[in-house]
Structure formats: structure tokens, C-alpha cells
Symmetry: C2
Subunit: 375 residues, 2 copies
Amino acid sequence: MRVVCAPDKLRGSLDAAQAAAALAAGVRAAGGTAVEHPLADGGEGSRATVQAALGGTLAQVDTVDALGRPMTAPVGLLDGGDAVIEAAETIGWEALATAGPDVLRASSAGLAPPLLAAVERGARRIVVFLGGTATMDGGTGLLAALGAELLDEAGNRLRGCGADLARIHTIDLAPARRRLSGVELLAAADVASPLFGPEGAAHVFGPQKGADPETVGLLDDGLRRLAPLLPGAATAEGAGAAGGLGAALIALGAELVAGAGLIRQLTRFEERLLTADLCLTAEGKVDAGSDAGKTTRGVVDACAAATVPCVVLGGTLSPGADLLYGRGATAVLPIGPGPRDLDTALRQAAADLTRTAYAVCRLAGAGVAAHPTRG
Amino acid sequence: MRVVCAPDKLRGSLDAAQAAAALAAGVRAAGGTAVEHPLADGGEGSRATVQAALGGTLAQVDTVDALGRPMTAPVGLLDGGDAVIEAAETIGWEALATAGPDVLRASSAGLAPPLLAAVERGARRIVVFLGGTATMDGGTGLLAALGAELLDEAGNRLRGCGADLARIHTIDLAPARRRLSGVELLAAADVASPLFGPEGAAHVFGPQKGADPETVGLLDDGLRRLAPLLPGAATAEGAGAAGGLGAALIALGAELVAGAGLIRQLTRFEERLLTADLCLTAEGKVDAGSDAGKTTRGVVDACAAATVPCVVLGGTLSPGADLLYGRGATAVLPIGPGPRDLDTALRQAAADLTRTAYAVCRLAGAGVAAHPTRG
């Protein structure tokens, strides 16, 4: 039995490669052949997951984090001319974790040096994984850092950050576009949120980035004001990804795609299914989330299309997880051995994945359906 | 796909019939044919489980609980001449729960009226399910209530209770035996504990019946003194069941058997497996317990013998649960959807069983093993 092990990360516990290895250990213990194929949804871990599959080299680029503090960030250079950059590896959550929430001040400017480094190194296409950033600046920090001219009504130049959104009056994108000319831009979102509005970046992701209700209102107003200045971004699905960074990239000519699908495509996941008898996927919390980037949902869909049985394992199954059956999941199962607290669950996830993968493979291979009903 | 649903109770949450119904709901939702076959291990719930399968009538008998308070207790009368009595339904835990722990005073005397009622109603065989009692009197209360003469060294008559054990000098069993003559006695234990010693009734079950370490020592000494007065009981496996009630029944001529096996036999479980494609069993906490009466282990063994794939579901999987694989279990899986507290788990067990049974049946029926590896 050949089993593709294609999990996302289990947030707070295992990255996708570790999760795949844990599943594979269970598959092998059950006598199956395991194929480790870690996945991601365009959010944190996406670049590393793609490079684990495709290799390439890594350049370290001097830049700043979301609060302007010096750091180096990785740029992945794949064979064939693609560069892969993960926003969270430059302007990610961690800046907030160590500096306290300051979402109005956070800026996406730090993403400019990695992008420019990829251009300098001859990338023909740059894939930017959105998601997991500390920012809510609509990508204005990035635009300014790339040379775009952001002016307030009085003609003062703005550097671009959440607080600046309320003041931006005009943006001249031409200088930024020039610096990226000749390069194809692909932005991969892990969410489908629009730039503003009740489902937009500020309302949906502001609170987890430290914004209180008043700040959420300010940021949403600002992103709404920004929208007409970013061609193509006003209503695009995913424009609100990474605090509106998606919108800025669209304005720079990027095609915005769902991260999960792109990563399946880049890593040739569907090819793997051609020789699979079973697919195991996993994530920390399984739900039926409408997020465009959901890895699990995409795996279920791909398996359904390929008529490969697919078992979804989760640290937590939310009530909506059962909706995955409607998309063709063969089984949706939890991994935890019983009542316990979340910390314990996070610590034991690898062993739980292995144990559950073992049970699933034994059951799948038991041949229950292989003979007609005996009665 | 025909699926036998054969769980034990999930203690504190569902009785075995409720658990079987919850499993069956999942099986049917997955398109399978469910056969509900609740089981028990000789402990609490055993009489009701047997009568759910075999029917018969119920007599209500006036008696007393383990602390001497008046109550009525059920005696099951099966077609064919068997009577079924559950010790826990007369002298069970509940007496302690409402009166506070008083294990030295607790007596098995209350079991005599149900036994005698079964004899009066013409039972040719009486099955007594041990386990779950509040007593630790070595069955001396029952013996005295049946007419046996228990004397201390000075010739004073004793009524029989945990505290009396230290004083019993002689027992004349003949009057008690006479009252049960012509009736076959079968005692079904849910544990394999001997009467006394480190693995005996007092040390293993005394603490959960309210005995402090000093009382445990007193009771163990008393049961050790009692052993030579109860022919056949000194070293018998299961003699320590129900606070030593097993030993007294052996002395009265009972055959002592493992409850789980007896209940499988009485309910014709093995016949059910002949037409089964899959068996689901479940219990609250799955471990590899060496208890003779373990339902789950017996189901796994029976399925292995019948070459029916068997999936064990548990509210909690203890680390030893994996040892069931060595006995032939196809899969051992948890039912809880994620980290949570025990109370929540107990409340949601039925829905969890249904959801997991559904997933298991879909996976078992997915035909993963039905075709050769595609690669």
C-alpha cells in the first residue's frame, strides 16, 4: 500500500515536514510505503515547504522587520528561474511577539529588499507567500520602499504604515513598477479576504495583530481610502491577505492566487497521487473554513478528483470538519488519545500522528471491502 | 457492509446499549448494516446487558443494601431456567455514595434475598455478576444471611462484614448450601484478583471503596484469615472479586468464570461474528489491562479467531492500548475531537462514537486494499 503523507503544519507543534515524517512513521509501521509530501497554504512555512520539495539555493538579504529593526531574511532561488519569498519571514508575527502589538506602526517596507534581491539575482518569476505578517498597512510600506511616491493632501511624502492610511492622498506607482519590470509576480494568499469591509483585512485579522475595536475601525477606513489608489485591488479576493499586502502586489502587476493550490502545483502533488493507494493529510485544527488557502480542503479535492481515498487527521476537529465528507473525504479522524489540555496535545502531536496513521493504514488495508458480505 | 457494534459501557457516560446505539448510528450513516450487540464484563450493567439480548422477566425482591438499608433489587429470569443477578444492583457502590465510605461495616447480606428468590422461582442455574459492590467482607455477610453459622473464638455468632473478618474462627457452610441445593451457581467476575495478598481484594479495590491504608491492612489480614474457611477459594483467580464475594460463592459450590467471556457466550456473540464484515467495540478507557473480565480484549480475541476485522474505539487510549494490536486488533482509535476536559468528554461521548464509527466504516469500505498498488 502506497500512502502519500501530505499534511500542513500543526501550528504551535510541528512544521509540515515534521508532520509528514510522523505520519510516514505510522504508515511504515503498518507495512505501507510512505511518500512524504509536506504542504502549506501560502502562510507561514510555505517557502520552506516548497524548497524541501524543489531544493534550490537560499540567499540571505539584509532588511528590516515590521517594526523597522534590522534583520536578514531568506530568499529562495529555485532551478528554472523562480524565486520564493515568504512575507512572514521578514515582516512576520514575531516582530510583534517581541515588541508588543503596534499594528498602526508596523510596515511592510522590509519586504522590498528580498524582492529586489530576487530581481538582482535574475529571477524571472517571484512567488511571494503572503500570510502571517504583523502588518496592516495595505502594502503601502512596501510600495514606498520600492520607490512609489505616497503623498498626503498637503503633498508631504509618507513612508507607509497602518497609521498613514488615513492620510494617503495619491500614490505614484510607476517608480516601483519600473524596479520590478520584466519579472513575473505571483502572490499566494492563504485567505480570501478582500481589502476592506466586514470581511476585510482589518476586521478579520486586526484583532489577532493587536488592534482594539477602535483601531480596527481606523484601519478599515484607511484601507477603504487606499483601495481606489491601487488598481485592481478594490474587490479582489485575497487582496486583504497579509494586512492588505495582497492589494499592493496586485497594483504592482502581481497575479494573486490561492497559496494551497499553488503549492500543490509547484510541488507536483497531483502527480504523486497517480501512484497512491491512500492519502493522509493533517492539520492542527480541521474545520470547513472557507479560506481560499486551506491546505486540507485542497488535498481532499485533489484526492477526490484522482479517486484516491483521503483521510484527514486533526489535532482538533471542529464541528464543521464533517463538511469535508461532502467534498469527498473518506474519513476525518482526531489524533488525541483522550481528554487533555492543549499544551499536552501540542507536545504529543508527533506521536499521536504516528499512532493514528498506523491505525488508519491497518484499517484501510484490512480488506473489509475486498470480499462480499458474508451473510 | 455488516458491522457488529459490540461495546462495553463508557463509565460515567453511556451504558453499553446506548454506546451500541451510538456506534450503530454512525455505521448506518455510512451506508452499513449495523447489528447492535452491547456487552459487559461481569461488572455493573451486566444483568441489563444480558437481558437486553435475551429478554426474560424481572422480579423485584425486597432486601437491604450494603449498609443494611431497605431496598428492592432486580432478579432476571430468563427463558430456559437461568436467573441473572447483579451484585452491584443490591450491594453496589451507590450505598457508599449516599452514606459515605464505611467499608468495614458494609455487608454482602443483601444479596441473599435475590438468590433465594431465584431459587424459589425455580431457577435451575443462577448467574451472579460480581463487581461494583461496596463490600469487602469476603462474602461473609451473604453466607450468614443464607444461614451459615459464623462464630468467633468464644462461640459468638457473627453477622459478617469487613470488621468481623478479624474475629471469624469457624464457619458452618452446610445450612447455606442446603438452601441452594439443586441449583447450579455461576459467579462471573470482572477481575482476576485473588482473595488476599498484594494483588488481592483489599489492596487493589479497598482504596476505591473508601479504605485508608490502615483499613486496607486490616481487611487484607481478615481475608487471609478467612481463606482456609472457604474451601477452594484460597488461591482461585477472581475469588477477590466484589470484595471477596467470589470466594464465598466458590465455597457455596459456584463455578467462577470471567464475566466478559460468559456474557459473550450467553448473548451468542461469536454467532454474530459469522455474518460480520467488521466489528466495532468501545469502552471509556482502553488499556491492555490483564483483568480477566475485560470486554474489549475478549472482543478482539473473538474477532481474531473469527478473522473479522475489529476496531477498538476509546474515550481515552492509555499507552498500553497499543498492545491490543498484538492480540489482533485491526485499529485502535480515539473518539474525542480534540483537547478538552473529562466532563465535556463524558457529555459528548455518544456523538463522538457516532462520528468515529462513521469515519471508520467509510475508511473500511473505501476499498483501499481491493485493488493492487497502482504504481
